[in-house]
Subunit: 205 residues, 4 copies
DNA sequence: GATGAATGAGACTTCATTCAT
DNA sequence: CATGAATGAAGTCTCATTCAT
């Protein structure tokens, strides 16, 4: 067994176990003992790798966001054309609740904490900010001109709306998966946005 | 101070105190002692009016949703014209994070619980469902024809999107209030929807 | 409603309710609220008639013993002949577990208390003492001579054994009613004692 | 002080402390804090070794019965001759209240619980059953023939009576130790049984 | 590094008792 | 007399954290 590099492996092992526990029992219902049992480790060792429980829970959130970002980079980023990229991104966002429910389980668990825990709030805020920035970035390249949005603040609003819709729909779907057809919604939304884009230039011209 | 006939007043007093505590300290960080202190009552009396802590927390959520529904009825319902109603409703929804941040504090606190607590899940699901139904109902009267949506499932999707966008934007705004201009977003969204509506009939005609 | 005499009626009502609760839930598992509910009274009124819970529980025990004594007086005392009386008394004692299980429920509940509560101990001790005295009394009249027991301490021992056997058998039967045939045991015991009596004089003669 | 391999020692330590508390304050008057203090341990560790208070109290009862059985095996079992064994057993049983008052303190404390706690009831029933079986077993070897009891159910009745008398006398003595002479009673009882045995064959012959 | 026994603060909850009505 | 709301002490149990091994 290698000793070097074990640190990261152990950390990952504990973080994964913690995520599993959160998914299974909820953020406020898990104990260090639960986590240790899930990770098949002793409670003591957890304190060797993490300062305390709060620190561990913070790492779990960070890791969830890191993996989510990674997926976007793999799925959306390779696409060259901005409009296709946008459509793909929308598709991706709306697929998350179904394809990666663990992400929503974690995100929704931490939303309540965010309001009273500055560190959690900061991490979540940064996640949203990065996501918006990414969208703004690829929309600003040339798409916005194509779709007639010259104003940068408009692009930012659009990004916020894209994420907001995805998030709000994802939460509704997580709470009650059967009530709506995610795929249809995605198509419709792409349609609405398409209308908005194609109409806007006309409005100016 | 009277002792009799206080049941409803006391319940309300305890629920309000609990909501305050949730807003101030977070759902998972409050104790019955905190609540009792906030309500200026003894811990024991809380168990006279509520079966246990879970029961109390459930009532708090229900009450938050009840008051929210009441506000919609006061603000949106009186309006006769469906399209105006829709615009007003959108405006109302997007104003909630700023005008009634307590509502978001409560809602976001319970989202994490919903995934592991069937009762919480049920209450939240019902809230969303009722809200969608309400929208569907007034849109189905004559608006949908005006805007060219004959398909009921489309109206439902629209309702889900309206709520989803409001929710997702509200969460982003709650986490980071300064990043976006809620009012501008509201106008933009009304604009997008307006375009969608006015365009759709043409698509059919 | 008569006001005079209500005191005794209320007391009796509360004592009976308490006994029911003890039988149903056990001495250490009942609250004043339980008792009040069973008696269909408020908790407050109980403190009008009894100094406190301990006082009430003491009255319950006393009342159980009083009723038990009353029954012996009705069943055994009328019999004139001492030996027949003795046999009847034995029969009665061994019938109690089956005919009056409430008595055993109460008695066994208080046995544990007796060791640490001087008042309970005193009441139980007095009950046993009176029962023994009663037996000694009627056995001393002429039976003991008939059965050849001149020694008073022997009669007292006999009384203690009679009660002891009844109590020990009663407890075993209460714990596991099906394991033994109370009636057969009664007959056998009467047989053993009969042999003892008829043999003893011979031993002397 | 070692930390590992202490499981059995700790359990025994806590059980002994609990028994002391029961003897000193009564089954229904002891708290986990009392027990922890008596055992010179923290309250938390008790829950490391026992599932909960009920579990601990059950173990205490089991342990008391186990030790009692052990004593019988040491005192009575080695004796070869069945009649001598019987007399020794009677002597032993009647000596328990005086020689091992802790046993009666524990047993009497749990009798009240037995009626509402199936687990307690089961343990006590098993104790009595085993004791009766043991007596029946050695009486059935050859004694019963010697004493003219061919009928097995009679032997079982005899065992029940032996235990019943011991129990009933033990309780009376525990409540009021001075009223009777345990030794004299033992001799008398042996005498009564002796007469029963020696007479029975004659009755048959 | 790794374990898990041990601690003790603090959470939830019950309940005997009081007292305003 | 009678009610039952109210109190607050005390009980059971959990759990983050430490530390001897």
């Amino acid at each position: 067994m290698p000793k070097l590099g074990m640190e990261e492996i152990r950390k990952e092992q504990v973080i994964k176990a913690t995520e599993n526990c959160i998914i299974e029992k909820g953020l406020s219902n898990i104990s260090i003992k639960d986590i240790a049992a899930e990770a098949k480790l002793s409670t003591g060792i957890i304190y060797h790798y993490f300062k305390n429980k709060d620190d561990l829970l913070l790492q779990v959130l960070k890791e969830a966001f890191r993996k989510s970002h990674e997926q976007v980079m793999q799925t959306v980023e390779p696409i060259g054309d901005s409009v296709v990229k946008l459509k793909k991104h929308i598709e991706y966002i709306h697929a998350v609740p179904k394809d990666n429910p663990e992400f929503y389980a974690v995100l929704m668990s931490y939303l309540g904490e965010a309001q009273h825990n500055p560190k959690v709030k900061k991490i979540i805020a940064l996640f949203f900010k990065n996501l918006r920035s990414y969208i703004v970035h690829y929309l600003s390249k040339n798409t916005s001109q194509a779709v007639g949005i010259q104003d940068r603040s408009r692009v930012e609003l659009l990004a916020a709306m894209m994420i907001g819709l995805g998030l709000g729909i994802g939460i509704q779907w997580t709470i009650e998966p059967d009530f709506l057809n995610l795929e249809q919604l995605t198509v419709d939304f792409q349609d609405v946005l398409g209308g908005y884009f194609s109409r806007s230039p006309t409005a100016d011209g």
